[in-house]
């Protein structure tokens, strides 16, 4: 199975781990991530304004590239996943945006949201299956109590992303279970980490991440996993007493699949 792959800017840089482990694991699990040509940054945030076009074009190009290859498009970063899925929804269902974007891009064949966008976790759940994944685990993470920190972008808006129940998700918990560890459900797993405000005002994210750590730690988690480089950054910068280690979910996946050795 071959997928078009959109790594996004952060995964080429600060979140190189997220990317590297994902590729390795994909190989073990029997699918290939084919990086699309000359992808451009998705912008990190989906422009909420319904009249915004220019800021959506880079995503459309990536989506169209996948369409031309006849492949589903896989992403890893929460933000890329969020932006790509929402732009794809616009292209499919909002004729005004779709028409204007197509007019501007003048593609050989207009793009109308044909590509299916999948988060890496969705590939694990819906294509591979967590039961199958569990069978491939050679180094089960037995005894580890792991909290899944979803954040906002990967879940909301639930209607468009269709990733999981935005108020009570379980995909990452099932993932943790498949790796042989014990998931710790905590109520702040879908609460915001402070997002981009940490650039100018660290206070908000300090407050938010403290709540997240207090809650996850309080419910007995030894560590958190995330899919979002920005969440990772904000959580790592936290000065909370209750702080516990945070990993990209792919790193733990690689560990469980025995693919971690030999890297950094």
């Amino acid at each position: 199975m071959k997928y078009s792959y959109y790594p996004g800017c952060t995964l080429k840089n600060k979140a190189a781990d997220l990317d590297l482990y994902a590729r390795k694991c994909a190989e073990i699990l029997g699918f290939e991530l084919e990086e699309i040509n000359e992808w451009q940054c998705c912008g990190g945030v989906y422009p909420l304004g319904s009249d915004e076009i220019a800021t959506k074009l880079s995503s459309v190009r990536a989506l169209n590239d996948a369409k031309e290859h006849g492949q589903d498009l896989v992403t890893l970063c929460s933000a890329c996943h969020h932006v790509l899925k929402r732009v794809n929804d616009d292209m499919k269902n909002v004729s005004d945006i779709s028409d204007r974007a197509n007019n501007y891009l003048a593609l050989d064949e207009p793009y109308r949201g044909e590509t299916k966008v999948l988060h890496f976790l969705e590939v694990l759940r819906d294509v591979i299956g967590f039961d199958e994944l569990a069978k491939k685990v050679t180094n089960p993470l037995t005894g580890k109590k792991i909290g899944a920190y979803y954040g906002c972008l990967v879940l909301r808006p639930g209607k468009i992303l269709e990733f999981d129940d935005p108020e009570n998700p379980k995909i990452m918990e099932d993932f943790i279970r498949a790796l042989g560890a014990e998931p710790v459900v905590f109520p702040y797993r879908n609460e915001c980490c402070g997002a981009y405000t940490s650039l100018k005002e660290g206070g908000i994210s300090q407050e938010r991440t403290k709540l997240i750590f207090d809650s996850s730690n309080g419910f007995g988690a030894d560590m958190l996993i995330t899919a979002c480089p920005l969440c990772m950054y904000n959580l790592n910068k936290s000065e909370a007493d209750s702080k516990i280690p945070v990993y990209y979910f792919t790193e733990l996946l690689a560990e469980a699949l025995g693919a971690k050795e030999g890297n950094s």
Binding site: T10, A15, G44, V45, L48, C152, P166, I204, Y233, K237
Partner: protein, 131 residues
């Protein structure tokens, strides 16, 4: 602002957001959900009223524009589909389109970052704070 200017801006906010402030039943679920509530001067449940009453000046001058985390919790939970997060984002865009975006200057950035800052944070902040 003249009456016409206000009306024009009200229309623009409705257009940019694609939301209907009249659908708001003032239940407060947005404010009950908002992680940035305490930072905001105009609270999420008030956004719709400010637009309906044409108090655009206060809204676009409000700190709330820059305090919204765009976590989409209010959008997800709003029982009336008013989506306050979209309304405040529309107000923010209105300001940025007019002023060209001066809430984050490129010159300020080196001061603000450390070695670990992911690109995602920079592009997101840039998108949020500037046109």
């Amino acid at each position: 602002m003249t009456k016409q200017e206000i009306e024009k801006k009200v229309e623009l906010i409705k257009e940019i957001s694609g939301c209907d402030p009249y659908k708001c039943m003032k239940c407060g679920k947005c404010s009950g959900s908002c992680p940035s509530f305490n930072e905001m001067d105009v609270k999420p449940h008030q956004f719709a009223s400010y637009i309906i009453n044409g108090d655009i000046e206060s809204l676009v001058g409000s700190q709330s524009l820059w305090k919204c985390l765009t976590c989409l919790a209010c959008i997800e939970r709003c029982p009336r589909n008013v989506q306050p997060g979209k309304l405040i984002d529309a107000a923010r865009q209105l300001v940025e389109r007019e002023r060209g975006g001066d809430h984050l200057l490129a010159d300020d950035i080196p001061e603000l970052i450390d070695d670990d800052v992911p690109q995602q944070l920079l592009v997101s902040a840039y998108r949020r704070y500037r046109r």
